[in-house]
């Protein structure tokens, strides 16, 4: 289990959203710019018109891409919330905790509890940072096989072991009798097909489904094993870390992406959910370049390396650059890389625009689902809190994608959504809930 977390941590850097500017001269300004066109010399207007066309293309695909991400994020959250509400295993406190959060929260005083949770969060975040740095170093020194093997083992553990536990708990909840033989066959098939889909080729929908399931499993593990205050603190700190790691010039994730760009390689596509991959497999160079281009409107990478234990779900893998399977081994690098498609690309091929997909790191999925799952587990059984967090996260994702369309560079997906989610969780749980309860008692409708 330790491997997975390590791997998760390492891949945190990758989780930023990367959006390579498709048009070098693209007007990275406002999406709604219109008034500037007035009163300007014709030549500038032409250029701006072209830029606006590019912007329009971005926007035209913007709404579709947002929905292409809303659906899987919603599905992941639905799976997590449904599991939390029905399978009591994931909300039970067994007294076990991850080795990364050694301090216990069942202390006598509130101050001690706060201190313990701060220490836990600090340890977890430093583990993540260290892992990220190790990953950057490994990538810099071209130890691709190490990274690839690590991701492979993580995903193996996740697909077999965690899903075995999950299935066992579901059977216990619904009192289904199951013999070991059938169980072994089910888990074996599930795991092997998952490994094939994620690390090799597979139907797009199946691959997406596996990624969603993996993210949900990981989120459930976090919900179960992270104590209450530690979990909220980790969410807050990791969105700050994501912001810093992706946007600061010396941030590890940014270094990773830039290195990948210099080498003209994709970062490993593992651990990235992508919406249009399937037709990229086995394509020739020309297509690949166009594909690279199409990978622009990528979503923020997931900062959480914790998703690592999923072991490189190479979604992007199948998609983008993996046109040569031979390259697979060598390009199993950070997820970010995937978004950081090399700048040496031919100009945008218009026919590809319709097929541009959008990517979001799996760590983003995991943390979004963890927030919503924790909200449904901890909020006094109240569904309003869950619903509020859900809407807040979706709106944060929408805003992030809008910023992506405007700035056309890698952006972190966590900060806005997690901030909204946290604000709405605490506000709804403490302020809105008593108000709505009173309204329901007196049957007021607002």
């Amino acid at each position: 289990m330790a491997d997975e977390y390590h791997q998760n941590n390492v891949s945190s850097e990758d989780t930023e959203t990367h959006c390579r500017p498709a048009e070098p001269g693209g007007a990275a300004g406002h999406v709604q710019g219109d008034t500037e066109l007035n009163g300007q010399p014709p030549s500038t207007r032409v250029i701006q018109a072209e830029d606006d066309d590019d912007e329009e293309l971005t926007l035209k695909y913007g709404a579709k891409h947002v929905i292409m991400l809303f659906v899987p994020v919603t599905l992941c959250m639905v799976v997590v919330v449904a599991t939390i509400k029905s399978v009591s295993f994931y909300t039970q406190n067994d007294g076990q905790q991850l080795i990364y959060t050694p301090f216990r929260e069942d202390t006598e005083t509130v101050g001690q509890r706060a201190l313990n949770s701060i220490l836990n969060a600090a340890i977890m975040i430093s583990v993540i940072v260290v892992m990220t740095l190790i990953l950057v170093l490994l990538y810099k020194y071209r130890c691709y096989k190490v990274i690839h093997g690590w991701l492979f083992i993580s995903s193996l553990l996740l697909l077999f072991f965690f899903s075995f536990i999950y299935l066992g708990e579901v059977f216990k909840t619904y009192n289904v009798a199951m013999d070991y033989l059938t169980l072994a066959v089910i888990i074996w098939n599930f795991g092997v097909v998952g490994m094939i889909c994620i690390h090799w080729k597979g139907p797009l929908r199946l691959q997406q489904a596996y990624l969603i399931m993996i993210s949900a499993l990981m989120a459930l593990v976090f919900i179960k094993y992270l104590p209450e205050w530690t979990a909220w603190l980790i969410l807050a700190v990791i969105s700050v870390y994501d912001l810093l790691a992706v946007l600061c010039p010396k941030g590890p994730l940014r270094i990773l992406v830039e290195t990948a760009q210099e080498r003209d390689e994709p970062i490993f596509p593992a651990l990235i959910y992508s919406s249009t991959m399937v037709w990229l497999v086995g394509m020739a160079d020309g297509r690949e370049n166009r594909k690279n281009k199409s990978s622009e409107p990528e979503s923020p990478a997931v900062p959480d390396q914790q998703a690592e234990d999923d072991g490189g779900f190479t979604t992007s893998w199948v998609g983008q650059q993996q046109h040569q399977l031979g390259n697979l081994q060598s390009t199993e690098d950070t997820r970010r890389e995937i978004q950081g498609m090399p700048s040496a690309r031919p100009s945008a091929d218009p026919s590809d625009d319709e097929e541009r997909g959008v990517k979001l790191g799996l760590g983003d999925f995991i943390f979004y689902s963890m927030l919503v799952g924790k909200a449904s587990a901890a909020a006094s059984g109240d569904w309003n809190t869950t619903l509020a967090c859900f809407v807040a996260i979706l709106i944060g994702l929408c805003l992030t994608l809008l910023l992506l369309a405007i700035f056309k560079k890698a952006l972190p997906a966590l900060p806005i959504s997690i901030t909204f989610g946290l604000v709405f969780y605490f506000a709804t749980d403490n302020l809105v809930r008593p108000f709505m309860d009173q309204l329901a008692v007196h049957q007021f409708y607002i």
């Binding site: 709604q32 926007l59 809303f70 509020a388 709106i395 302020l431 008593p434 108000f435 007196h442 409708y445």
Partner: protein, 226 residues
């Protein structure tokens, strides 16, 4: 309470909204985004109004039931006013976005008209309002218990479901009327929407009148249909 009650109340409360969503909104990504943003704006207004109510409750003396009831009514009125304010704010935001979309598109035509946006925004408000009112009741209806065993009305779930349905549809209609009157600068119509919203939310009476309250609200619903 049984699963039948759960499904019955759920479909009563959310059936039309779900149908509207599936048939008119789900296909168009832009409308889905506007819907969810509308829900977000309603949520923001609720957050702020419950903050105000919470502060008022904490500042007051908590023992008196009448004072608490009065504060609740104040909270409801304030929430309604704030919702309309946020509806106006959303209208302004959508106007700006519409201009942007129009400027960016090839024929200088926005892909969505302000009327469609009004409908979608109203539905977003309505769905969120309905969900917040009804979801907890629905989840309670799945568990064990008897409605009204202590002397309250046994029709609590059904009336709640119908009221939720009415509020969802009303929000949709109010959204359309509101945006249209803002477009044409007919501020009296905006005031009518606000006062109708206050009227409907303020229809409070002791328990036996659950049915009459629902009927009155449904009449308002019928009048609002454009």
């Amino acid at each position: 309470m049984t699963v039948a009650v759960f499904f019955g109340c759920a479909f009563i409360a959310f059936g039309p909204a779900l149908a509207l969503f599936i048939f008119t909104i789900a296909r168009d990504p832009l409308r889905v985004i506007i819907l969810i943003a509308g829900a977000f704006f309603w949520l923001l207004s609720l957050l702020l109004s419950s903050l105000v109510w919470f502060i008022a409750v904490k500042a007051s003396r908590q023992e008196e039931a009448t004072a608490q009831k009065g504060l609740l009514i104040f909270g409801v009125m304030f929430s309604v006013v704030l919702q309309e304010v946020f509806r106006f704010a959303y209208y302004r935001l959508l106007r700006k976005a519409n201009e942007g979309l129009a400027a960016i598109s090839e024929e200088n035509l926005s892909p969505i008209s302000i009327r469609q946006m009004a409908y979608v925004a109203g539905l977003g408000f309505g769905i969120m309002s309905g969900a917040f009112s009804m979801i907890n009741i629905l989840s309670d209806s799945l568990g064990p218990g008897t409605v009204g065993i202590f002397g309250d009305s046994q029709y609590y779930f059904i009336t709640s479901a119908f009221m939720t349905l009415a509020m969802t549809l009303l929000h949709t209609f109010w959204g359309v009327v509101f945006f249209d009157s803002c477009e044409r600068n007919r501020w009296w119509a905006v005031a009518v929407v606000l006062s109708l919203h206050l009227l409907v939310s303020g229809l409070v009476s002791p328990s036996p009148s659950h049915r009459s309250r629902a009927v009155r609200t449904h009449n308002t619903c019928a009048d609002k249909r454009p």
